[in-house]
Amino acid sequence: MSTPLERGVETLKSQVDARVESYFSSCTGCGVCAEACLFYLETGDPRYTPIYKTEPLRKVWKNEHTLWGKLSTGLGLSKPIQESDLSDWEELVYDGCSMCSRCSMVCPVGIDIAYLIRKVKEGLSAAGFVPEGLQRAGERALEFGSPMGLTTQSLRNAIAALEKEEGVSIPVDVGGAEYLCMLSSNEVVLYSEYITSLSKIFSAAGISWTLSSKYFEATNAGVQKGDSGLAAQLLERVVEVATELGVKTIVSPECGHAYITIRWDAPNLLGRELPFRVVHILELLDQLRAEGRLILSGSFDERLTYHDPCNISRRGGVLAQPRHLLNQLTPNFVEMHESGEMNWCCGGGGGVSSNERAEPLRLKVFNIKKRQLEALNVSTLVTACSNCRIMLEEGLEHNDMEDVEVVGLTELVAEHLE
């Protein structure tokens, strides 16, 4: 029976691949990554330097895969990984990194630090060093199918209420539908206008779509926690319902990590190609606009800007689509100083938002977003991730900036259908 430390170290060892090896072999310790990290810049604490957060994995790589490491470990000159090497990094990795990948964009030797952090999380998770909030989110996701503990009955209740109150039709479990829309739990309990908007948009475009009453959750607590086994189990449920319904395309909701997980990571986590296509809702909306199937009308008169969710823009590649849509909707769309692939994170990505312990730090690093918004003097902040939306609303409230309204782009599109 192995100890948690042994499990953590073994897991870290198993994470070393050619990318990890070339990354650590290239690092010169130049510290440029720190200059792109909101956690370092807003706290001034060098421990938040992105590459420093990968230290547990680097130590394993050094001890196991370098000549000096093997020699010094063999001769007893360097210590093997201790429990403190893992426990001391839990806060840095889970509280002080939103896996926004901004550091990966600027590293002079091209290290994808977010890729390394993801692997560090696997080791910490295997050793049991996971924040309580994330641990519980993972357990709820496995038990109920939702990190918030929502059941499919909750979804059915929400749908019934929306159909009654909004007068829309929301198809459920329609076999052979063109699109299966996955949701995040946030969109069921907090931003149900997203579901209403889907109904209006698909109706206007004449598209068949459906929700699944069996499994609706697109977010993946396994990815946030750093537990590939859990991540794969949750993804299998998505594949199962899509296969049962016979849909050809899954629509990822307004959620950053849900999108990269289903779109980019799922085939690799499952070890096979997906039997369906995955698109983000913004990709689909822009495609429908370009095809003339979605005619937008009216103009949004107030000055607005767009917050790029990191995993949709920088790590997901959905950069042009929201801008096409916003420029169609309003002449008053303005960009933040650093946007698109170099946007600043809301501070709550990578599972930070599920980690109550990280809240003070998260609100502190929100200062970057606050300054970006103050410089623009906008009244509306549009985004396309329900998690970002919560973080933005909380951050604005914390800074007495409630006069800036946060809205989802899908909702904005639905409000301006011809």
Partner: protein
Amino acid sequence: MFEQLVDGIFWDIALVVFFVGIIWRIVDVLRRGTSKDLSVSRNSGVPGAIMANIRGFFPHREIAPRVRMKVVAGYMFHLGFLILLFFAAPHVKFIAEHITGFSWTAMPYWAFVVTAQVAFAGLILLWIHRLLHPVTRLISRRDDHVGAILVFLVMLTGCMALAEISSELRVFHRFTVELLMIYFPFSALMHAIMFVPSRAYTGAMFGRRGVDL
């Protein structure tokens, strides 16, 4: 005796360790491999890998003002070092006699002095920054300092040897070069080679997703 060793067996050992070590490190990376990305890509990863290798030479626009000193000092040292390596008159002669069989125009003495000063200034600036800045001080390892000291010694002895006042200075320079060659494959100095696959892996990943680094 020492001169014979440095010009003879030490040099042979250094050459073998340098090239075999580098090849071993590269093969080690390739052998480890990565699992095939099964996701459906938007674009080919190849242009992304190539562009990442080119763009990596320039700091990202958004952070350029914050890293100006590092970039300028980095270029001063690296370019200066490469120019000295390939265009200092004794090096041109040595390479022609021992490796290529042909030579090219060496830089004049005054250019050597200027280049050496620029390279020294860059190296010293980077090192001071490494020691003084809280971030680089925290993330620097012994290996980073050993590498910097070795390179500094190689450059220093090289400048001293250029005057050709005594044969001992040339031998001492060659000895430090041999130490550097033996240390290189097993140290952070390998970044001089490994940055290529590193940038390529990341560039390909982003490229497949339609994001320009």
